[in-house]
């Protein structure tokens, strides 16, 4: 599958081959970010280096939900949950870039440290740039504050138009990860990732290359999962003895 190959190309192979204990975490964990989206999947062997191969789970794209991507350029930030270390440098860099201060209220990427029976798992949550954009769908037509960036595919909110009715926040919380929220004072919708004009700070600064900027992959179902639900999968992947 093309997207999986694209994603795997971003993984640091040099590191992977030297550090054996990261072998599974990086490659298969990346697959898990994708594979978690649906129950049907196939197992295939991917050549990592000339001498090494690893088995990864390749997702099958659900045909019903498959919508032709509107944007052809890389516009989706994929998180390799199993190798996220939870440092939250992405959150800090994001808010520094947008607001000039480490502000966990308005940052567009949040890292959840989930305790699953003592196995800690860190899940970065950010706007998934869903193809069917439930937030945009509920935004009242008269307001029309949410739009898609014509070239980089980011979903943007126009704060001048926005009436802070909160419908998009509700829609995201009910149908998707819930990355949107109202600010503490209730005057602003926060958490909408603008992709930093195509050069995301979180991807640049991630010290473990957990975040990758990719073309959209139609992972609509995956977007509906909450941190703990993803964490439980990652927990089974990391801590179960084969």
């Amino acid at each position: 599958m093309k997207n999986l190959d694209t994603m795997l190309k971003h993984v640091k192979y040099a590191e992977l081959s030297r550090r054996t204990f990261l072998k599974g975490a990086l490659a298969a964990g990346g697959a898990l970010a994708l594979a978690g989206c649906n129950n049907e999947s196939t197992v295939k062997t991917v050549t990592v280096t000339e001498t090494k191969t690893v088995t990864v789970t390749e997702p099958t794209v659900p045909t019903e939900d498959a919508i032709e991507p509107i944007i052809k350029v890389p516009s989706y930030i994929l998180a390799d949950y199993a190798s996220c270390v939870g440092c939250a440098i992405c959150s800090i860099e994001c808010s520094l870039k947008h607001y000039g201060i480490a502000d966990m209220e308005r940052t567009n990427i949040k890292v959840y440290g989930v305790n699953v029976n003592g196995g800690m798992v860190d899940i970065p949550i950010l706007c998934m740039k869903c193809n069917d954009t439930p937030c945009m769908a509920v935004c009242p037509p008269k307001v029309n504050a949410i739009s898609i960036h014509p070239t980089n595919g980011a979903i943007l909110i126009d704060h001048d138009k926005c009436t802070v009715c909160g419908l998009c926040v509700e829609a995201c919380a009910e149908q998707r990860t819930g990355c949107l929220s109202l600010s503490n004072d209730g005057n602003e919708v926060v958490g909408m990732c603008d992709l930093c004009d195509g050069n995301p700070a979180c991807v640049t600064y991630c010290p473990e290359n957990v975040l990758q900027l990719l073309a959209k992959v139609n992972p609509v179902i995956n977007h509906a999962r909450k941190p703990r639900s993803i964490a439980e999968d990652v927990y089974n992947f990391l801590y179960a003895v084969k």
Binding site: C87, I89, A102, E105, Y112, V114, G118
Partner: protein
């Protein structure tokens, strides 16, 4: 002056369940800045006229203080908090009263402390004693006390998981395990499955207040004096830290790199008897890399993710997993002659879930094993358990008995009080081999090589106190800012640490002025300890350290001599400006440090 501070301290009285938002701490901030120094000053003010209070009683204040740099987003200084109270664990040889203990200060990483700062709270000050289990809930600054009965008895991981399921995954939970609930004196307070206020028994203090835990979420940006300087220094420091060789090693192996790195040099094997680990091939760093660790984990905002999680892949305890091992976890591994990762995991997981301090637990179990080997403890004394070296199953059961049977059976009660106390009850032979200073078990290094920091530490045996007067003062710059030890030491150093504190608080202090604050803090700690009867004789080691030279490894033959140590101690006291024979701070020194209000208390010191 208020930059870096919300000017909001929350005073909680567990007895009356009253919650008060005050600015009481701000009067000390200018002089003591924050963290450990601020906490120690406030502890002194609270207890100076009643130093003999019961540490497990309602009067002992439990303070949680995020460092001044915590939560601003500076790498490595981003996430730590300090816990200050009177210790229930440490003990002098000659008590001054019924409850003679040192000060307690303990530092903890993770994400809780940053969140406490984001919630708009500078520090928590908890006194009193509830009648039934309680949990303190902090929702972005709004503090409430809720019933905690349903959490009582849970292990630390169950507690955090239950809280996250009930409140939401963005919540952080800092709590005690059964060891803290049952008032085992070396219980710790944990969050995130492995980050702990480990030392000096702060978990027992929390348990004595019937407080299961503190749960918190917050998201406000921390106020800062000089944002431009912060952004400039942050980028620079981040790059320095990513490039520093020692930190690269920390990133990959954590402090676990020292398990093999210090093996045969400065490491403990078999209850501080040897330094060469005979099972390094199965439980050394390469073995951990190849067949144990599955992921790294970081405290908030830190690019040196030194936490490792590992899973035992084979053997009796196959499938058990835990955070670690870190270097200090070695006390439960090679310290007890464990030969496989499963056994070691079994005990690390026990400490983490039940809420034991790993070092003190390791010291207690090491003492128990050596006493069993020497015939001081018999199987019949401990319900038929076989306390053999490397027998993780039996040692696990023994540790559980310490929690559950401490009030029923005398011997478990002794071991629940700490290694030194247990040895004093087991007899003179046991006293020779208990690995402690002031009833506080020291780290996994050999006391022969770490004598200064182990003995002079104001909280009992401790490797992070500092080996010289200058190092001790510099370490307080670290502790008051919430900085982490190794990353600070290997990237920006003491002057860099001081600089970070300065631009966050908007102050301009020289390094010397910071060291002066450090010296004041140490003198207050020393005064508190002296009032509790800690003398020069307590800055000393057990007979084993003097009798047995290091038998093997690179430092084989290294000895400690009593007369040399006494001379060294006198020289240190003299350098500190204290009485060279007794270690009492002098009137001249207190005057020099501007601590004139403490001079009347010199007369109250019982020696």
């Amino acid at each position: 002056m208020s930059n870096g501070y919300w000017e909001n301290m929350v005073k909680i009285d567990m007895t009356t369940e009253s919650i008060e938002y005050t600015k009481d701490h701000m009067q000390y901030v200018e002089e003591y800045l924050g963290g450990r120094a601020l906490g120690i000053k406030m502890l002194w003010e609270a207890l100076k006229d009643k130093p003999d209070i019961d540490p497990l009683g309602p009067e002992n204040p439990l303070m949680l203080i995020p460092g001044v740099a915590t939560g601003v987003g500076f790498p490595t200084s981003a996430s730590r908090g300090e816990c200050v109270c009177k210790s229930p664990l440490t003990m002098p040889k000659t008590p001054a009263g019924e409850h003679s203990h040192t000060v307690a200060y303990s530092s903890c990483g993770g994400k809780f402390h940053a969140d406490l700062k984001f919630a708009g709270i500078d520090m928590l000050y908890i006194t009193g004693q509830a009648k039934s289990p309680k949990v303190i809930v902090i929702d972005n600054g709004a503090v409430s006390i809720v019933d905690g009965s349903k959490y009582w008895g849970m292990d630390t991981n169950q507690f955090e998981e239950t809280i996250q399921k009930e409140y939401g995954d963005e919540w952080k939970a800092l709590g005690i395990g059964p060891a803290g609930e049952k008032l085992v004196r070396y219980a710790c307070i944990l969050n995130e499955a492995g980050r702990a206020f480990g030392r000096v028994g702060v978990g027992a203090v929390m348990g004595s207040k019937m407080l299961k835990g503190i749960v918190c979420r917050g998201n406000k940006a921390v106020p800062m004096a000089n944002v431009d300087k912060f952004i400039e220094k942050r980028e620079e420091t981040l790059q320095t830290m990513l490039a520093a060789p020692v930190l690269k090693s920390r990133r990959r192996y954590g402090t676990g790199s020292l398990l093999s790195g210090q093996n045969g040099i400065n490491f403990t094997v078999k209850n501080w008897t040897n330094t060469v680990n005979p099972h390094d091939d199965t439980i050394g760093t390469p073995a951990l890399m190849d067949n144990y660790w599955v992921r790294h984990r970081s405290c908030w905002g830190c690019p040196v993710y030194c936490m490792k999680f590992g899973v035992a892949r084979s053997g009796e305890f196959k499938g058990e997993y835990t955070e670690g091992p870190e270097f200090e976890s070695g006390v439960l591994g090679s310290g007890l002659l464990m030969d496989n990762m499963g056994s070691w995991t079994h005990l690390m997981d026990l400490a983490e879930r039940q809420g034991f301090d790993q070092l003190n637990l390791g010291g207690v179990l090491g003492l128990a094993c050596e006493c069993y080997e020497k015939g001081i403890i018999k199987s019949s004394d401990v319900d038929g358990l076989k306390l053999e070296w490397g027998n993780a199953d039996q040692l696990h059961k023994f540790a559980m008995n310490i929690i559950n049977k401490k009030d029923e059976k005398e011997i478990y009660g002794w071991f629940a009080m700490g290694a030194g106390y247990a040895a004093s009850k087991l007899g003179p032979e046991a006293m020779k081999i208990a690995p402690h200073v002031k009833n506080h078990v020291y780290s996994v290094q050999m006391p022969h090589l770490m004598s200064n920091t182990f003995a002079f530490s104001t909280r009992g045996g401790c490797h992070l106190f500092g080996a010289s007067k200058a190092a001790q003062e510099a370490n307080i710059i670290r502790d008051l800012g919430g900085h982490c030890n190794a990353p600070a030491a290997y990237s920006y150093g003491a002057s860099g640490t001081a600089d970070i504190n300065s631009f966050i608080m908007g102050i301009s202090l020289t390094l010397d002025q910071y060291m002066y604050i450090g010296e004041k803090c140490i003198n207050i700690e020393k005064m508190f300890n002296c009032l509790n009867g800690f003398r020069a004789e307590d800055d000393d080691f057990v007979d084993k350290v003097y009798d047995l030279p290091i038998p093997d490894g690179k430092n084989a033959g290294k000895t400690m001599k009593r007369d040399e140590w006494a001379a060294n101690r006198e020289a240190y006291y003299t350098e500190c400006g204290w009485d060279p024979k007794t270690g009492k701070p002098t009137e001249g020194k207190l005057q020099e440090l501007g601590l004139n209000d403490m001079i009347p208390y010199l007369a109250k010191i019982p020696f």
